[in-house]
Point group: C2
């Protein structure tokens, strides 16, 4: 990009209205589409739009390779959202990114019961928050953007018929445990979206769920 | 990693207490240190700890190459935090990730005045939120994790002596405008941290500011 183009872009951005903000987003999505076109040809249009939004949000085309979506994921997730079922997040940062859903977005990480269960059961707060969700009769889409222990706890609760789950966005991040927790989800029959390897995190989780919300 | 190690790790994580959670974090930091050792040798210990936390939070070692920290950044930022000055974020997702600061963390993106200024001045909401911060006599560290227009507006306000800034964490993400806005910050004398290129985002911003908060 030439210096002149840079300055033009800065001038354009400096005066960017919300409409122009939308134009920038559209331009960005076009760039993303071109960048990952070859890697997303096997996907359905809905799956492709989810992967494009993840790459748009992270500016990291590698997510087109890393993102794996199970066959029933889009269908079950859209049903859940259309029926107004809840969304459960592991941390408040993920919750803060979900702005346009008419139903409830729940996060129990700072809940009184969570702090008690953390001590009582000698588990992490994020895992305890999943147990609290089960007790509170959660039913809907689980969105894990950070914690491998929360994801493993969800799988454990599901195996023991203690939680109702329509689908799981499982994209915890990190070099210890994240990859293994996502592999464990990938082996289940639960409709899911994961990112293979250590990478993932809040923006990936938020992009995936917001993309689904936009599709309803 | 062998399958046996995988299962051991899952068992370990499944029973992970908060103490074990901390052990996992320590193990992860050791992996990160080893991964980016060669790339961080030129940094001060404080700068190195910030870069390590960014890589830890994103599981993406490329951030060791992309993160650029200006000479006065750590000193000015720590002074600002020690003096209890405010932190300003562009979006609520970034604010939601800053949990352990005793001072104020402000975000005006949904503020009434912001919505008015957006229409009146024909600018983006994120840019208008920076104008509101200036009117509200903000003084402290600005943390931009998402919006190039917010970052450019901060630079504009600063140039016109309309806002007091101790330092800027400028890591907006995206293929349109993010890179240019960060380059513009990098050319100023404002103490700053940026990530070169399109990559950046909420976890990078949160890792950088939380790392500084831990250093005070």
């Amino acid at each position: 990009m030439s210096k002149i183009t840079n300055y033009s872009l800065i001038n354009m951005l400096m005066g960017a209205s919300t409409k122009q903000g939308n134009d920038i987003a559209i331009k960005s999505r076009k760039i993303v589409k071109a960048l990952i076109k070859d890697k997303t040809q096997h996907l359905t249009p809905e799956e492709r739009s989810i992967v494009e939004r993840i790459v748009h949000s992270t500016a990291d085309p590698e997510y087109a390779d890393l993102t794996k979506i199970s066959g029933e994921f889009v269908k079950k997730s859209l049903e859940s959202l259309k029926n107004g079922k809840d969304i459960l997040t592991d941390i408040n940062m993920v919750k803060a990114g979900i702005n346009s859903y008419n139903g409830n977005v729940k996060c129990y990480i700072n809940h009184e019961k969570t702090l008690k269960l953390t001590k009582k059961n000698n588990i992490t707060r994020a895992a305890a928050a999943m147990q609290v969700a089960a007790v509170e009769e959660f039913d809907g889409i689980v969105v894990i953007g950070n914690s491998p222990t929360a994801l493993l706890e969800v799988l454990n609760l599901y195996k023991n018929n203690k939680i109702k789950i329509q689908s799981v966005i499982g994209v915890p991040v990190g070099f210890v445990g994240a990859e293994e927790s996502k592999e464990a989800l990938h082996k289940t029959e639960i409709p899911h979206l994961i990112t293979q390897g250590p990478k993932g995190g809040t923006p990936v989780a938020v992009a995936a769920i917001n993309s689904l919300i936009n599709l309803i």
